[in-house]
């Protein structure tokens, strides 16, 4: 754990006890089994807003506390432990980052206070295909006399059913594959021509497919500069990746704790199974790997807070290392629990399912290893 400030430690303790008491994995399971379309419970979300988590990144002048990304990570890690489902990440991290990084004063004033009080729920609508590849953006935005007309579709839009405003990456010039010619737009989720449908994913979280059919966006809906949205999009994505790393750490750390507990309590051959060296060593390797991954995860969040110039390297390192650790940890969670691990009644499966989704979001391990290689000049 990074050397946390007093305030950060307080927030962590608060998040830990709130998540384990008010929003434990049992709540997530109940939500899953209820099949509600929104995929999070309103009271859970209301309590998060109440605790001020939606304002962690938002400057004080817009109603937030501006405590930064490491602090946000501390909260996400605790939520990741319990698989707590909420739009906190989509709206208050990704959405707020987009407005803070790319928005003009008017956009900040109109949106950020509402992100903080929860009356606006933002989400980024980016991916169009089955692999994360921002430059492949093809959804078209054509200029018209009063603004733009959007046509195309987005998939795997996080909390897309609950969102009130979509931050849409669109192509204003060039062709799919070019980084030039991408622009960001703010589109009301209930605008005419926007059609949303929920997707049923293995992790039971809220994702939507969103179709844009001649959707009219006024010129003040352009977020950032025309055609030059790619760089700021990457900056937004790096914040998303770093934040997701913290959630992944929580999910993996909980999987580790469950496994360690089982190693100490399950008996076979007259001894606890943790006394078999094959398993003891495996736990030792997993623990070491968790420590190494944590360093990368925290370094990425700190690089963002410090405004370092190697944020891209740091986030790719974090996402790749966290992906690898969570992948292995989620497999070992099942393996070391034996038959119990395979049952739906036990929680291991929920962690395994969530693990693969987190691993693939915003670029999987391979994506970030390739990106890291490119950034290092290989």
């Amino acid at each position: 754990m990074a050397a946390l400030s007093e305030e950060q430690s307080m927030i962590r303790d608060q998040a830990k006890s709130w998540a384990s008491e008010q929003a434990p994995v049992q709540k997530f399971r109940e939500m899953r089994d209820s099949g509600i379309e929104q995929r999070f419970t309103a009271t859970t979300w209301a309590e998060m807003i109440e605790m001020g988590w939606t304002g962690i990144l938002v400057p004080e002048e817009y109603g937030g506390s501006e405590l930064g990304y490491l602090t946000f990570g501390v909260v996400l890690e605790e939520l990741g432990r319990q698989l707590t489902a909420s739009p906190l990440f989509a709206s208050a991290l990704v959405g707020a980052s987009a407005i803070i990084l790319a928005g003009n004063e008017e956009q900040k004033q109109s949106l950020l206070p509402k992100v903080v009080d929860g009356s606006e729920l933002l989400t980024l609508a980016l991916d169009e295909g089955n692999h994360h590849q921002p430059a492949l953006t093809a959804l078209r935005a054509e200029k018209n006399p009063s603004g733009f007309t959007l046509n195309g579709s987005k998939t795997f839009v996080l909390e897309g059913m609950a969102a009130t405003t979509l931050i849409v990456a669109a192509r204003t010039s060039g062709k799919a594959g070019d980084s030039e010619g991408i622009s960001l737009f703010l589109v009301a989720a209930d605008a005419a021509g926007v059609a949303r449908s929920s997707m049923q994913t293995v992790d039971s979280r809220g994702y939507a497919k969103v179709e844009f059919n001649n959707v009219e966006v006024a010129s003040d809906g352009l977020l950032g500069s025309l055609d030059q949205g790619f760089d700021v999009l990457e900056s937004i994505l790096d914040r998303a990746r770093a934040g997701l790393g913290a959630e992944m750490m929580g999910t993996a750390a909980q999987a580790f704790d469950m496994t360690l507990d089982y190693l100490k309590t399950r008996e076979q051959f007259g001894s606890v199974i943790g006394s078999f060296q094959a398993l003891g060593h495996r736990a030792a390797v997993l623990f070491s790997s968790m420590e190494l991954s944590r360093s990368c995860m925290e370094a990425a969040l700190q690089a963002i807070d410090n405004g370092d110039d190697d944020i891209a390297e740091a986030t790719s390192l974090s996402k790749a290392k966290m992906g690898a650790f969570l992948h292995e940890m989620s497999n070992q969670l099942i393996q070391i629990h034996g038959g119990i691990g395979m049952t739906d009644e036990f929680d291991a499966g929920l962690y395994l399912k969530r693990a693969r989704v987190l691993e693939s979001a915003y670029g999987n391990q391979a994506y970030h290893r390739n990106r890291y290689a490119t950034l290092l000049g290989f």
């Binding site: 293995v202 094959a278 691990g341």
Partner: protein, 401 residues
Amino acid sequence: MSESMQPDQFRTSVREWVEGNFPSSLSSYVPSMEDDNDGSLPDLELWRQRLADKGWGAPTWPTEYGGAGLSHPEAKVVGQEINRVGGFNPIPALAGMGVTMVGPTIMEYGTDDQKARHLPSIASGAVRWCLGLSEPNAGSDLASLNTKAEDKGDHFILNGQKVWTSGAHISQWCGALVRTDPDKKKRDGISFVMLPMNREGVETRPIKLISGASPFCETYFNNARADKADLLGPLNQGWSVVKRLLQHERQSQTSASSGGTKRESLQDLAKRYVETNADGSIADADLRSRIILHLMDDQAHKLTVGRITAEARGNVEVSAAASILKNSATNVSQARSELSLELMGSQGIGWEGDDFNEQELNTVREWLWGKAISIYGGSFEVQNNIISKNILGLPETTQKG
């Protein structure tokens, strides 16, 4: 027939028969272990019956027990010819644990009466068997099992709980490992009994898996009767019987490799799901090299199966090498699932609904289900214990008693 025919003549005759008898309506059907022949597919029943009449459900078994008395190479030809027309042999799945495990063990340990009563209905796929071995506190350490069988003269009375019993809720018979002498050392007081699942006092409760289905159960014995005539092997010698049975299980799993005929190859999946260069190669160098590592592992596994079979001169014998093969088959099939998900990307994280096609959804379910392969039939770790002890002669540290 097999002695009088040349190999290619044999193949031709098999081909003709398969072409004339496999119902084409089944060619798009994907068989699974959970298939319950409930009569909803008349052609499946017809095909089962035709295969059973030929003895090709369990083709290497003697004809008197419902097999066809074929050699292993001949049986392989039958399998290949059935695959060639997009067909499958439904009998091993319909018989549950019958063809792969219980049958071969009865062949070895059973009385003539037991062989005559049980083997033909297994070979024809008419009777499904489950295996009640594991208990809540006896998994890898199977010998610590607690289910009691009291001797009542011509029968035993069973009391206890089994768990993870695959197919128990749809099986007609069960092979159960029970404690017949609580005073002897753990492994010396165990017997293997067989009993029908519709006996009074037998109850099953399906358990839902992470992949969604409920193919296994908790099985309870509450004063359930098992006839002495269905004790397999001598009293209190059940441990030897089950050791043999588990070798057959491993054996049956060693070939459970990546390449089912109905599965799309990773090369084809890659063409459809990831970006490729102009020359057709996968653009993502990292993914490409991991796919190749996997395909090399797959090939090494297949070659090793071939080599061990050849060294046994076509006489596929269960051996300690089965542990090596079980673990390598597991690695290959689990890696294949992970790579398939990765290739599909966000199309590979669907659970249900129209946003994902059937193949995508099946790939996810199969990935989840596949996590069990390194757990059942002796876990990955238990296989390694067997290799280090039985093949390498290293001292045993955990499996005492």
